[in-house]
Symmetry: C2
Subunit: 215 residues, 2 copies
DNA sequence: GTCTATAAATAGATAGAC
DNA sequence: GTCTATCTATTTATAGAC
């Protein structure tokens, strides 16, 4: 690390911050180097001095974003041993993490959810896989402990949980204005209610009513 | 309607089809008129002959996409009066609709889920609202009939259902390669399993175990 | 309706002064 | 490290022939 001249938030860092904002809002194709330079308060040429290309800058932004999310996911592991409480906590932390880092969350989700032109797909995929694997493990533990039904695969339960969080985050600006929707800006409340539905729905209770126990 | 010279799929229609594909895959900013013309087998100038601007073409594509989805959502209304069956059917039809029209689905979802530069936001918003309202109504009917618990708001249940469908569609290409995930390409199976969890979770069953009935 | 040619602006990226 | 000036390719969009 060649130490920078003296100022902490100078040059390179400001460009990275501006790029994170803009790439997060509009995506790779929707942002020009001129726009990034303008927001960072510098010139186009200076952007190209600090980064070899637009793709290089984008990848650097992705790397930083993934690091933030990976670290947060790792830290969220230790939270008691009550399954219900762990699920609730995990959901709430997940939503709060995205709410606090909307641009970074957008970046990662875009890479995972859109076909995207081969950019940071691999990096974002790792974050996604890690998160997914952890949630699956949680549900499998619960099922192995006999707490959950065995006619619903753990990966499917994991998809449902992550889906709720991701969708709430992605559509928050639209949902907020819909009638009866008063839970968008209260992660704790949403996590509590959604987790309740998932937990009750997953509890061991064979032979529901009229349909066979088809897998 | 000034009838076209003689061929049904000629000129304008081919351009619209090409634009739907490309805008759906890469979004507004990621597609150039040259690319659309190339795929439609015509020239740039001809694209501008049929449409006043790139935004015009994009809006036309959005309009058509929304029409397809609005019609399908309307048609899905009448399906028996068994709540469980209706929810299952609605989920399955929704997933199948997106699977069959991936580009149109992507277009609409992108407009709703990304901040996006003011483009077809309004159009897509209508489709989204309509779908959301219908699902909320379904859950409210069930709750009014006394079938569902009343400590989980209907809009939240609706968000959970739609979230599962949207997320399954959006991340299908990533999920497909994850261990234990064998439900991505079987809408019937996914709808059956996910609906089971939601239904069981929403069934009337007050005072779960240890936590109060907080709303 | 479709084309070639072109205009005008902007994109990503480089050269070289300071 | 930062800048102005510039290069080249590509962008949206238009003009006008056929």
């Amino acid at each position: 690390m060649p130490e920078p001249s003296r100022n902490a938030t100078s040059g390179r860092d400001e460009i990275l911050a501006a790029a994170t904002d803009l790439f997060g809002e509009t995506g790779f194709d929707g942002v020009s180097i001129s726009a990034i330079a303008r927001r960072a308060g510098t010139s186009k040429a200076n952007v190209f001095h600090h980064f070899n290309s637009k793709e290089d800058l984008y990848m650097e932004v992705m790397r930083a974003a993934c690091k933030v999310f990976n670290r947060a996911v790792k830290d969220a592991g230790d939270a008691g041993d009550d399954f219900d409480e762990r699920l609730r906590t995990l959901m709430r932390q997940d939503i709060e993490l995205m709410s606090v880092n909307p641009d970074r969350a957008h970046l990662i989700l875009r890479e995972v959810l859109e076909s995207g032109p081969s950019h940071g797909r691999a990096l974002a995929g790792e974050v996604f896989d890690e998160q997914f694997t952890e949630v699956v493990a949680l549900f499998e533990q619960a099922r192995d402990a006999g707490a959950f039904r065995d006619d619903v695969p753990a990966p499917l339960a994991a998809v449902m949980m992550i889906a709720c969080n991701v969708f709430l985050f992605q559509s928050r600006n639209v949902l907020r204005h819909l009638p009866g929707v008063d839970f968008v800006d209260d992660p704790g409340r949403f996590a509590r209610l959604a987790a309740r539905v998932l937990l009750e729905g997953l509890h061991h209770r064979p032979e529901p009513a009229g349909q066979g126990t088809e897998t």
